[in-house]
Symmetry: D2
Subunit: 243 residues, 4 copies
């Protein structure tokens, strides 16, 4: 059975900015921050590091960046879903903008992942794409606002609200995460407060002057947003109790 | 500095026939056979298993099944050469028939591998392809005789001799390995005796009734061929000494 | 301004079953049948035949089987939208199952076609795909029921009604055409009567014993369905007038 | 039977810089220049213009920019070799840098073209690629000196001589054409005088201030080089006659 990350969650990856032991070191720092603030954290790891990270961390939810849909057998260079799972991954990215998929491939990848109880984390590039990909009911959608590149923050929040509503209108149980262009912990806080289930950053952290300090601040922001949302909810609930 | 496998060598892989712990178990058996018969063995491992196999074997020469040519940075789903090397791989397949490359990509992959001292193992599909790919001077060429599918053994040996000669005429230092369609240890012996630097089998072993017995017999055949070639050479040398 | 085919319409193509003069001959027969029964007919033509067919037919709506999204400039082997339009095509296929597109490519192709007033005819492979592709608002959707291969007619009609409803619920102005597996003129009649805006056949006609007779019968079926739908509507209207 | 262009020949294309009637107009100008200077000229035309150009020119050797290798049958979006030939093309580009092919695809495309007597015009990106592609024995090789971008003319001539020698050493009957970065008629003259069988330009002409004047000057340069080579040869022959 799949156990989805508990919202609000944090997500990060290393892409190929770092490799080898540096990936493990970063993964352990994310694991430590997740434990410190009691927040679920998704870590998308290069294939070669998945197993070691799974072995040496305790709380991380390790995802593969892609998988093929073949079944055990031939396929010298393909990424076998069973291999990704056996290495310890519990989820997989679908349709990352650097590896775009056809509709049929998206459908098959999500079906294959469901078969193995792998969590599906699908990327979309615009409002229309977010609505399109939601039809296949992945577990998480990350509507990367490519449309927004070069625009200011206000329209950013508008895009965020529009994609969030479009997805939840269709399937309220799909988790929505924002991750594009995040470089500050305050953005993490704002996105969670706006109703997103998760927020994350990859290059924003890895290219920062002090990546570990920023990582800690970002995970702390998820925690703070979680607490503030609870306070708001409690207040609302107590008001509702008033006659 | 690259240290190439010492001919005659053995080569195997699991493609995606098995995954997870079964890959490690098989790799350890290949490692044991390589030690037992004192033969170099190349093991092409799925990305997710490279590091663990490198950590838990002693003699295996572990290769990745493919790599991209990007440099550290972006590339969520790409296979970074530095990542493959950091995981312990010392070589990489180039142009496997299931992942055919353009000429430019072949050239770049070999250059990128050379930069990191990764051994390049290139596949070719016909005599013309073997001659074409030899122009880029990979370390090893595996001229998979796709042309031969459905034909009998005799023409098989003719193809083997033709590709071997074509490659060695161009670059005598390129190692030539035969691997396609090998299901018996006697074929391993015959190919080595015919002058090839290596021979191998993947599905031939994994689909056998007793894979571990066949694996042992195949590596033993490499050893026997090596010894018999030495005897032949010694005899020839001693004859040459005769006045 | 785009002028869409007037429902119910007929659609056919030759894929690569025939080429050269045979394509022109077939196109002229479709043109003649369209005129005879006063039915709009879409003809998807190989690139090399688009101009000649446009020059020598009068009623056909000629579509290209694919186009790239580049703008005039480089691109030796790309299909330039402006070139397709200059040759006389008034529409283009999007996401044919033999050339599946990523979501981003679907979006861009539709936007580029709209810019040039080219009608977009998008293919989908399942109910979920039909709903996904409808998000990008193509002019026509052909939900090829790949899911149905090997199943009987009844579930075929169920699939047809499900995709039709799903698409019209989202955008009532998207035209829906059924084309997969049609080999008899009665199927054309049934699909139109079921509410589809169009129906068509390619290999079903070209592989028939007498392609020209079948072509004529199919276009006649579109006409008959159109007339019968009108009679039904008139009756309904007159009933509504009754107090 | 294939009739290859008679060296020295001229070659040009429009890529996608222009489309529709402008392509025909340009093709007719190339045809006129070819007639005026009695020089064979290859014209690589967009698929949609092949037939019309073949119909309306007399001397041009029209080539397609790419073709697939499928046989008549399915293939909605594929370029059928028979269709390209039926439209009037007598040759086809292979492995253009904007549509790089695998070794297997290069081999199959050349075999398929030979089957239909279509002339094969293969592109290569470096000396090693030129030698590699020569193994498949295309009729013409265009070794685009991508390596030279940003370098000066002298090394340009060195690259030209190296690729020319490498190809002719392997197969003296392969025609060698230079085309990359040519913007002046004097370059056309120099490349022919250096021993190349052909020379050409596409964007160099189309982006010029006066394309038609430059086109005329370039074809005239081929003629002048042809005449000057003949004078040199005649002198050499008469000297050889001297005792």
């Amino acid at each position: 059975m799949k156990i989805l990350p508990k919202p609000p969650f944090f997500e990060t990856s290393v892409k190929n900015y770092i490799y080898g032991d540096a990936v493990l070191e970063y993964a352990m720092a994310v694991d430590a921050a997740a434990a410190k603030y009691d927040i679920d954290a998704i870590f998308i790891a290069p294939y070669t590091e998945i197993r070691r990270i799974c072995d040496q961390t305790r709380r991380l939810m390790v995802f593969a960046p892609y998988m093929d849909t073949l079944r055990p057998g031939r396929g010298m260079t393909d990424i076998l879903p069973e291999a990704v799972k056996a290495a310890g991954a519990i989820g997989v990215l679908v349709n990352h903008c650097e590896r775009p998929m056809s509709l049929t491939q998206i459908k098959k990848t999500i079906e294959r992942a469901n078969e193995l109880d792998l969590i599906t984390f699908a990327c979309a590039d615009s409002v229309a794409e977010a609505k399109a990909i939601a039809q296949f009911h992945p577990d998480i959608i990350n509507p990367e606002p490519t449309e927004l590149i070069g625009t200011h923050e206000a329209s950013g929040m508008e895009y965020v609200r529009e994609t969030l509503k479009a997805i939840k209108d269709l399937y309220p149980d799909i988790l929505v995460e924002q991750a594009a262009g995040i470089t500050k912990s305050s953005q993490i806080y704002d996105f969670i407060m706006a109703g997103n289930d998760g927020a994350g950053s990859a290059s924003g952290i890895l290219k920062a002057a002090d990546p570990y300090a920023l990582l800690d601040a970002m995970v702390q922001s998820v925690r703070k947003a979680k607490d503030d949302l609870k306070i708001k909810k409690d207040r609302r609930d107590s008001h509702e109790d008033c006659p």
